[in-house]
Subunit: 481 residues, 2 copies
């Protein structure tokens, strides 16, 4: 028992120090680790398996909505990056520059892509000639580099992995439709796969993507009451098309610029999963994306060890289509293993001891509620399948309830400041629409406008939470990662 | 018909100019294109879909043999890269260097990984403490940058995609076993998925990986008689372990260095598929990796267009589990589409016209032999499934026969020189084992030793093809990509 207590002690309490708890969980569960290169992490097998499941679930949806994957160069020549003024201004401070190839100095510096609009637009300009070439619906899975000053595992790292969709359309309407379509794909994906409810809406001018016409976002609420931007979808308008000369001859024989979108989510979603569902014992993973969905822990006794090992092996094989691990090691106690796999967030644990074998039963424990049930062997498979669905839904329901509880309407700025300090969460408030108020609120409270939601608008009498003049928007504020 | 003739004319004849044919095929089928960055290509959706199928087929095998995926940083600090002398010597001329992050000059230059031994070994050194931590069986899918002087689409590009396995073992035997195991995984994968037979064996000292103890290779023969190194598996011995101090406490309480392997294949396999199976009409893709396995081409007539469109749509849906495309466009003639999809290498084409509907039949044409058969609708699915298997096997058999025909034993150096010039292919010859002869042969003939095969050895009287002294090895020579 001493070893088991020590085990649990390894994790900082979530309520005491959320930041340290987060880092502890990531590192102790072997999801990721720091590297010797500032801000770059190593994604270890357990964290990468989680990312693979997230990636595959999203990739299916991206393809199902008519997109194809492709791969564009890692490098962006400096001249290309500089073509769009807003864009370079937004990214210049965080670009890593390649200046030498082999032993020679390059004639022109190459940026390592901080995002791929510039390189992809320059290529699209060569591909697109006629309206018949449209729409272009392409997605890329790639690594991205941004020279960040302050980094956190998964949430903000110098190098990260992501997908970036880049599409070209014939009309403004089509581009807007695509922008919203992918935003909704992200929302459904977050809810279904990550069991994470999100607030959906538009970014303010101040928060939008450098070079975009409009940026839309999905915002999730972490267990510490801070928001996490889960993904963004940009209507790029014709800005990049004009800069990179992406033109087509339309059916009416006139030359026009294309309308574009781009949209992406990244490995920061892994951090989101940790922060939305985790508890003091470690990770709690949604079954649909869990690398291991069911873990078997044999309860060994010396005399019956071989029998139990054989039984566990047979039972594990009786769960086809489910990601199963049988922890047959005899160098660790069952209690140590319970803690170990709980910390790893495995949704379902199945214990098998001599008594269970005698009774033709198994003991099933779910990670989220820790509820323990005794189930006849013959019903194991059906029970596990039901539990995996149930846990997925329970996690979503719990996160939804938390989001609801921590979303508060507020009309008084004093109350706003008090609430953001004491409770955090989302504050729904009216806003005049001026950047000056947005800036002041950020300065006063560290809260930013996470989004202007589609489904809320201020009442006719509403006034700005900050300056008191007439309100134009009803928006979500939060402190954010 | 004019348009159709022109279509075919777009491709250079394979026998007339193989190099130009290769580039034409890649570009006209929209697999890849050059970018504005020297030596970097864009992998277009059709080429990327092919790569995804290759990747997935290999990823399954890598996981089935007990490996897990992970992700390590793109950057290698210069000091790490310089730790192993042979390694830096091998890679220094082709490294891209990052010198600036944001607006600041970095204290130390960062190499963009030309391969990941240095960065991964430095991390493994922190992970491994005890024999209980071994083996480490990790694979990474990543982009790699090598500043190449001469590049060719897919075959040699400044940036490419690959997988690299990096494993650590307790004993020398285990590492050697792993090295050969992965070599055999590559061989089986090449044969089964890419329908490409390979020669398997060890590289000479001159050709081995910089820093490795022994390098093993799979070598395929392209249709122009040149060899392509398809993948390599390295027994790294303890070289890197000693340099990066990857030590463990063994069960006997003594501290030991680990034994390592690394192994990789890359996007150049896509080029291999083109060059092994393609013909004058374009790509010929093995069904198992073809992005589209079956294409439907309706034979429209004005009066029956809607009926045919509905029939083709219904038939396409009747092939679940098969990657199907229905080319319903009415802006192109059936003849144009035949050429188009042949060029794209789609294994099976199904034509449906009014007469076929009347007879409840479809017309099925296989890409490899162009054989045309008339099949009752009710037998379409079974026929297609059979054909896909049959085409896969036929392509492998054809490539195997070609490999056999173009592998020649030779004992006279004059004949060697004549054959390598006139016929190319593999020349099997005896070799003394001296690098001097290897170099001279390369200088005289541009042929290199592709491998020292496991299953051949010189007869006792055999003499070196070059210097005439006693032979120690019987090896495969070829000109290579």
């Amino acid at each position: 028992m001493a070893a088991e207590k020590e085990f649990v002690k390894e994790l900082t309490s979530k309520s005491e120090d959320f930041s340290q708890w987060y880092v502890d969980v990531i590192r102790k569960t072997d999801m990721a680790d720091y590297s010797s290169i500032k801000g770059c992490m190593v994604i270890k097998p357990y964290g990468y398996a989680l990312w693979e499941n997230i990636r595959d679930g999203l990739d299916r949806r991206i393809k199902a909505t008519g997109h194809q994957n492709a791969y564009f160069p890692l490098f962006v020549p400096e001249s290309l990056l500089r073509l769009e003024a807003e864009h370079i201004e937004g990214f210049a401070p965080e670009v890593a520059w390649v200046t030498h190839g082999g032993n020679e100095k390059l004639e022109e510096r190459l940026a390592i892509r901080p995002t791929s609009e510039a390189i992809i637009c320059s290529i699209y300009a060569k591909w697109i000639h006629s309206y018949r070439d449209l729409p272009i619906l392409i997605n890329q899975w790639a690594n991205i580099v941004r020279w960040e000053k302050v980094t956190r595992l998964f949430l903000r790292t110098t190098e990260f992995l992501w997908q970036e969709g880049h599409t070209c359309h014939r009309t403004e309407e089509e581009a807007q439709e695509e922008t919203i379509k992918m935003l909704n794909v992200y929302k459904e994906f977050m809810e279904t796969e990550l069991a994470t409810p999100v607030i959906v809406g538009q970014k303010t001018e101040r928060e939008k993507f450098a070079g975009a016409l409009r940026t839309y976002t999905i915002e999730a609420l972490m267990a510490d009451g801070k928001a996490l931007q889960g993904g963004t979808s940009h209507n790029l308008g014709q800005h990049f098309a004009k800069v990179f000369k992406i033109k087509f001859l339309d059916e009416d024989q006139s030359e026009k610029y294309v309308w574009q979108t781009s949209w992406g989510v990244s490995t920061r979603l892994v951090g989101g999963v940790v922060m939305v569902h985790g508890d003091d014992a470690g990770l709690v993973l949604p079954p649909r994306i869990a690398p291991i969905q069911v873990v078997f822990v044999p309860i060994y006794f010396e005399r019956t060890k071989e029998e139990i090992r054989a039984k566990v092996t047979a039972l594990a094989e009786a769960l086809p289509g489910i990601r199963v691990e049988a922890d047959l090691r005899d160098t660790f106690t069952p209690g140590w293993k319970f803690n170990h796999w709980e910390m790893k967030g495995v949704p379902v644990r199945i214990e098998v001891g001599p008594k269970d074998i005698a009774k033709h039963q198994v003991v099933i424990v779910r990670r989220d509620t820790r509820e323990k049930i005794f189930v006849p062997e013959t019903e194991m498979r059906a029970t596990v399948e039901r539990l995996l669905v149930d846990i997925q839904r329970s996690l979503f329901d719990r996160a939804t309830a938390f989001l609801k509880e921590n979303t508060r309407s507020v009309t008084d700025y004093g109350e706003f400041k008090e609430l953001i300090e004491s409770k955090r969460g989302f504050l729904v408030a009216d806003w005049c629409g001026q950047a000056a108020c947005e800036d002041k609120i950020k300065e006063d409270t560290k809260a930013t406008i996470r989004c202007i939601p589609f489904d809320l608008s201020p009442s006719p009498q509403a006034t700005c939470i900050c300056c008191g003049s007439g309100a134009n928007h009803r928006v979500y504020f939060a402190r954010a990662y």
